[in-house]
């Protein structure tokens, strides 16, 4: 029997209602989706399937906020105020064909806030530990930052060391080699970067993401662990911790 083209076609109708106010206020486009056929496409390649939480730590003034800003906005902030608190940024990147949403927490570097900022480490999948290549003291403090990072995150948290302000070669106070060695001794990824020129900024965030993704692939990072810092999204076809979103598909009829 062919379907009697029922007028009440169930839940999907609701969407219309839900989205409609959106249309009125902000998104003319949304209404297009709803009222126009054109919007549908066979695939949804722009969805992301993981969320990684990152933290950026390091002494005050080393350029943490500038790195975040450069990464999310592709701009350099010459007169960036001290961070007194914790700020966020997000961006979607692609690793091995997987879309990943990075949720980045930029913390205050000032010593007096240290006790408070420690509480933000929990559940980070990646940590960017930043020093300023023109200020030796910021490099000397790394061990204390590293101790915090190790103690307050899980063993699988990927830590990348970043020597920032690489554009100020003339004022260099920390050589590439010694930092590289420090990184190797402590099992850290390492890059020199410049939030000003943008050099290696993208890479810094990507390298860490690659490493995290690799840990997921080879099973060393357990997504079920509460503090893995990674959320697997239901929309991802591989299926993760969360059960898949439904794809109710009506049977084609009469053919």
């Amino acid at each position: 029997m062919y379907p009697s083209a029922s007028v009440d076609s169930g839940p999907s109708r609701f969407i219309y209602i839900h989205l409609y106010p959106l249309h009125q206020i902000i998104l003319k486009q949304i209404s297009d989706i709803i009222s126009s056929h054109r919007a549908t496409m066979a695939t949804a390649p722009y969805n992301y399937s993981y969320i990684f939480k990152y933290i950026i730590i390091g002494d005050m003034g080393v350029g943490k906020s500038c790195l975040l800003h450069q990464f999310t906005e592709k701009k350099f902030m010459a007169d960036c105020p001290h961070t007194i608190g914790v700020e966020f940024g997000t961006r979607i990147i692609e690793v091995s064909g997987q879309k990943i949403k990075l949720q980045i927490w930029d913390t205050a570097g000032q010593e007096r806030f240290r006790a408070v900022t420690r509480s933000y480490y929990r559940g980070a999948a990646g940590a960017l530990m930043v020093y300023d290549i023109t200020r030796r003291s910021t490099y000397n403090h790394l061990s204390s930052w590293l101790t915090d990072a190790r103690n307050l995150t899980n063993p699988n948290t990927v830590i990348i060391l970043i020597g920032n302000k690489a554009d100020l070669e003339a004022q260099r106070d920390v050589t590439y080699e010694e930092a590289k060695q420090f990184a190797e001794e402590n099992g850290l990824l390492f890059l020199e970067a410049s939030a000003k020129t943008g050099e290696n900024v993208e890479d810094a965030f990507l390298e860490a993401a690659k490493k995290i993704y690799q840990n997921i692939q080879d099973g060393s990072l357990d997504l079920n662990a509460a503090e893995s810092g990674v959320q697997h999204k239901p929309s991802a076809p591989q299926g993760g911790r969360l059960t898949s979103e439904p794809q109710p598909q009506r049977e084609g009829c009469g053919c």
């Binding site: 839900h18 056929h37 439904p246």
Partner: protein
Amino acid sequence: MDQSVAIQETLADGEYCIIAVQGMLCEGDSRQSRLLGLVRYRLEHGGQEHALFLYTHRRMAITGDDVSLDRIVPVSRDFTLEEVSPDGELYILGSDVTVQLDTAELSLMFQLPFGSHTRMFLQEVARACPGFDPVTPDPEFRWLSRYRCTQLQSQLPTPHGWNSAPGTWPGCARIGGGRYPSRNGLWGLEEARSGAGSVLFGGGAVDQTGLRLAEVARGGGPLWGRSGRRGRRDEEVEEAGREMSAAAGSRERDSAGNSHFDDLRPNGKGLLVDQSSWGQDKPEDLLPRQNKSKSEITDMVRSSTITVSDKAHILSMQKFGLRDTLVKSELVQKEEDYTYIQNFRFFVGTYNVNGQSPKECLRPWLRHSVEAPDVYCVGFQELDLSKEAFFFQDTPKEEEWFKAVSDCLHPGAKYAKIKLIRLVGIMLLLYVKEEHAAYISEVEAESVGTGIMGRMNKGGVAIRFRFHNTSICVVNSHLAAHTEECERRNQDYKDICSRMQFCQVDPGLPPLTISKHDVILWLGDLNYRIEELDVEKVKKLIEEKAFQTLYAYDQLKTQVAAKAVFEGFTEGELTFQPTYKYDTGSDDWDTSEKCRAPAWCDRILWKGKNITQLSYQSHMALKTSDHKPVSSVFDIGVKVRNEELYRKTLEEIVRSLDKMENANIPSVSLSKREFCFQNVKYMQLQVESFTIHNGQVPCRFEFINKPDEQSYCKQWLNANPSRGFLLPDSTIEIELELFVNKSTATKLNSNEDKIEDILVLHLDRGKDYFLSVSGNYLPSCFGSPIHTLCYMKEPILDLPLETVRELTLRPLWTEDDGSQLENPMEIPKELWMMVDYLYRNAVQQEDLFQQPGLRSEFEHVRDCLDTGMIDTLSASNHSVAEALLLFLESLPEPVICYSAYHNCLECSGNYTASKQVISTLPTFHKNVFNYLMAFLQELLKNSAKNHLDENILASIFGSLLLRNPAGHQKLEMVEKKKAQEFIHQFLCNSP
């Protein structure tokens, strides 16, 4: 923070927490925080069921460990969740949304935070409610059985008990009480747990921030108007005042810094909406919901307004579908950037075969053009006129005609069949050249029967698909027959248009209709006839090939001109003779009894841009049927993607969404972030204020606890308000109130605590701001231990801080060594000063210790004592008396040490034993005790004047000198009595 993640961790396989919101469960006057999670369960045989899971939780649930299940409410047919307006309360912008949850069994009231997240939640719940279509089975909720308390399992009714039986709805009669147990029954997991508020939401702190809604509303001022704050301040002062008052026995209260404001709470209904704005755009096809409460939900949903920032909010929420939707819509907007138009050749044919099987080759019809078409759309009507075909939807003719067509497609290309759809005798076939098959997507086919019962042999079938970036819908219809049924034909057309619905790839989107396609090709036996001319006249005009003249009498022409049918469609010029009705096997007009007039029954129309008709003709060579087949060839401009440009556009869009998301993280500016409180004194309120100015994103703010801390700030500090909601560009003033009382003074004296704190101001979904508080505290004898004061021979403020610190930290029992070395005083000089003052001025004072003192005078007394300027002391007797009581109350170790407390109570009534206990006290404490008793006895000598008696003094001093080591607990009456009795003995007997 999406708390559904935490909930998800507690769920079983197959259960999915769609969305969670945190709200307040209101029961009477109590408010308890609950996390509400909407959980979906996907059934094995298809379909889904929902339940609302209620959890108690820690402040902000991050992992499954932070939540514990309290109750489950299955979303059954009788489930409703509606927004309600609490009685008598005003609507307040930005305040909480009150919702009422009802099932046949229970009724709960929640306050949910105002905002789009709550809207989303309510919308999701509305979607989850089972439909009212009696055909769909009732949800059974078998999956919830794992949450059931096992011991009650046996009482469970059959699963059908969850809902009213389909037949009885909406009477709801069958579900009466007790079927599935409500509050304390099967679904109330460990009811006791919910009462154990200890882990909930930072305890009372959350509710402290009061605002008096009515007043705010009247003033029309900012959300958190001054009145709210003033209310708080009054209370603070009152607190302090009460602390001053010496009314005996009323002293075991919380410290002033922790005042309770239980009576003030945000409430009311918050709607930022223009209720009327919906109506204009109401979608026509919305069915009235059959249940009133449901329709209220939809109304509510409609009425919610979402502001610009919510777009970002939506993005930041883990609602992936929406992000997709946004990307798609942007892609549609920018389609021109990455597509170009390319022509493809379409062959469209229609043939009413009058129930015949293919007897001749179809080449003359299908293969008449030189060039091979890219796409073939071939439609038939009256494929099979037998009853079997009608009733069983099965006919051998389908295969026969399919083969006949397939065999006769253009030899210049290889074709792939995309789709075949048939409704009784109406069949539509779609082929494309093989090389195009990869660019065909989203193919859907549907059919609609028209006529009585929608099951007559008339109706239409359609195939919709996407060719490159262009959406195309091909419709083949067979409309009502007979000249006089013109209206019927129009109606059939409309029915097909409105009822033909294709489901979308994204199940969340509404079904597509025919009209929502770039290109529509409509073919078929439309059955429109030639009117007003008699048969002979028609035939004559045909003979003369006066098609133009004849066309004027064509019903389709006149109906289209009257906009009664096929609006917006185009048809090519008719240059061929009518295709109906011939004697089968010939080109002769119908010679049967009925002798039908010739008519252009078989037609092809189109709608859309970039369509050029190359030919439109009939094919007289085919004689199988009483109709002639018709064909038309089109060049159709199809939007083809430039892959490189497409990628670029897509990346730009994704990038801009990222940006927007970042830009819409709530952000505020603070007028001040460093707060310095200079020279803080005991029990003297200091206030520093600052303003929060919101950016463009509405947000909630809240001071949050640092890890391992009980409160968002030190005990001596309070932020007012400590949380709230900010509209875009609005400002709120926050006051930081510093007040040192007896419970915080000692540690400030000893420097174990400092006037130093960092407050974390958290924006929901946004940044955190740190506020630094610093300052210095002026040590005071108030809050200092007795023995410490005995060692201080100079006024406390004349001593170096380091000395104060050392002396304060000195243990109680080290007096022996100390006494030799430092020659301490026998009792604190400050105590002596106050008692001496009273002795000299107040022994005859009426109502001494029973009248409250003045706050300003207390501050004066305190300063005199702490600076040693006793000579300048001038205050009313009552104020000094009150200061004395406050002094005794603020002693960290009471005069009768905690360790002796229970002994004292035990031997009260036995004076000898009591004296024995007193003799075991540390010397300084013993001295103070005896000194005070002597003073009190002195007062009693003047009882004629001062009206004091032993009972009054015993009750006032009993609770000050004897304090329960367990702290601020309310004392048992017996205990109080015994403490009084104990003191009483010493007042009656000489030492």
